[in-house]
Structures are given as C-alpha cells and as structure tokens.
Subunit: 158 residues, 2 copies
C-alpha cells in the first residue's frame, strides 16, 4: 500500500516541524532529516533514511554528519547490527538553544574583536578630523555587539 496512515501523519508533522528547525539555521534537508529521526521510535540506518526521504545515501551521509557536529544527533551502537545507527538527541529545546546560541555568540564575538582592533588602530593614528563621524559610528556598532552578547547570555542561563 506504500503510505500507511501513520506515515501520512508523520509527513504532516514533519512539514511543519521542519520549518521551525530551519529557523535555527539548518538547511531544508538537514531539518527534514532531523524531524524524521525525532519522530522515529528506533535508531535508523542511512538506508532507512534514504528510503524514507527519497534522497541518495550520499546525501544522508553528509547531512547526518552536519547534524552530528551540531550535536543534534547521536550515533548508537547495537549488538549484531553492522550498519551505523543514528537517533535524534531528544532533549530538544535545550539542545537547540545551546548549539544555536553558542554559534551565534561566538560569531558575534569574533566580529566584535575585529571591530575593537580597528578602533584601536584608528585611535593610534594621528587625530584626523575627517574620521570623527566614522569613529562615532564604530563606537555604536561595538556597543551593539556588546549588548547582543549580554542579551543572549541572559537568555541562556536558567
């Protein structure tokens, strides 16, 4: 019969859930894959996923890799099973917030550092009248980064 009722419902859920997952910076396929794993009761193999999502095994391999790096998925060992098995990391909310915010803040921080470096260099140079407006803008931007950092830190500690 191809698609059971269960599979049909599963697809409906996946469509919606994937959209939310995408908002956390995952590609559409990564999101669909994660949703699928999350709704599956057992750990799955690359072939399982390939069949279910209708995508190549290669694609599953690379996308699972991304999800592993993001710590959203775990590799599972099972006696007697030769293929690799994967399951979604199920502490959904915390896991997401953690990886997302961490990446976010890390990146923003890096940019803040670069900007402060630029600021330092401008200050060191002799006081050029022409640059005052630029300095002012830079100050605001750095302040913005600082605020970002604080806000998101706040959010993460609970």
């Amino acid at each position: 019969m191809g698609t059971t009722k269960k599979e049909l419902i599963m697809q409906e859920i996946m469509i919606e859930f994937s959209k939310t997952v995408e908002m956390f910076g995952l590609t559409p396929l990564e999101a669909r894959l994660f949703s699928f794993l999350y709704l599956s009761e057992k750990p799955l193999t690359l072939d399982d996923m390939s069949d279910a999502l209708g995508k190549s095994k290669t694609s599953m391999s690379t996308n699972i890799r991304s999800l592993l790096e993001l710590n959203l998925v775990t590799r599972v060992w099972k006696k007697g099973v030769r293929k690799d098995l994967y399951e979604a990391n199920s502490q959904l909310f915390k896991a997401f917030m953690n990886f997302y915010l961490k990446n976010w803040i890390d990146q923003a921080n890096q940019q803040k550092n670069s900007l402060e470096e630029i600021e330092k260099n401008i200050k060191r140079a002799k006081n050029n009248e022409e640059l005052t407006a630029l300095k002012e803008g830079l100050k605001h931007i750095i302040g913005f980064h600082r605020q970002l950092e604080e806000t998101y830190k706040e959010l993460n500690q609970d």
Copy 2:
C-alpha cells in the same frame, strides 16, 4: 586617488559588521548595504550606493526595498533633491531585535498552530495503538514551540 584612508577604514568596518547583520537573516548584499548606510553621515541616493558597492542600480533598488520592509532603512525627503534618499534607521539594537524576533515568533507560532491542528485530528480519530508513539512525539514538539514562544517574548519585553 580612488580610495581614501577614510574609505579604507569604512570597508574594514563594513566587512565585520556585515557578518553580524547577516546573522539576522539578511542576505550578504542587504547586509553590506545596511552597513554602508549606517556608516554614512548623509542620506544617500541609489546611484551613490551603486557606485560605492560596485553593484547595479537595479540591485540597489530591490535591496533597499527589502530593507525598507524590514524597517531597517528610512526614506528621507530633502528640498531641492530630486532623487530618493535613504538612511539607516539608527536605533540599531532595538530595531534589529524587534524585526527579527517578531518574524521569528510569528513563524514559529504559525507552525505551532498547524501542529495543534494535526494533534486535534489525531485525537478525534479512533484510538489507534500504532499511533501512540507519534502522539507522544508531537506533544513534545508542540511543547517545544510553546517554550520557544515564551522565551523570546521574555527577551523582547524590557
């Protein structure tokens, strides 16, 4: 001389700042454009931007449009100037947070509603043993969305 010292510093800042702006879901060019406007002292015309960023005027037009919709840029009127003038909305932090979080939450909310609809439909159907695990997963996912909503609301009210 082509590139003055000021322009050089401006570019350095723009490179870093644009990265941060991109994290808020803007495309690279939108981000660069916004950074440029933010650092400019005067409102600018499409031709100004086109020259400065080395992109077509058409591109400036469409990208400015996006920024306007996101409320990150304002159109300015100046007596005697025929061309349209634009400047960055300068309450940087608040403006960003507002538009970003609003879109975010709106989207997540929409997905939550769809998921709850699905949940209702499952419950209405006769109790199928096979679906219990799926129901459980759905419940968690909806809970996740609820939590998202609350967390971000909290963040926005200060």
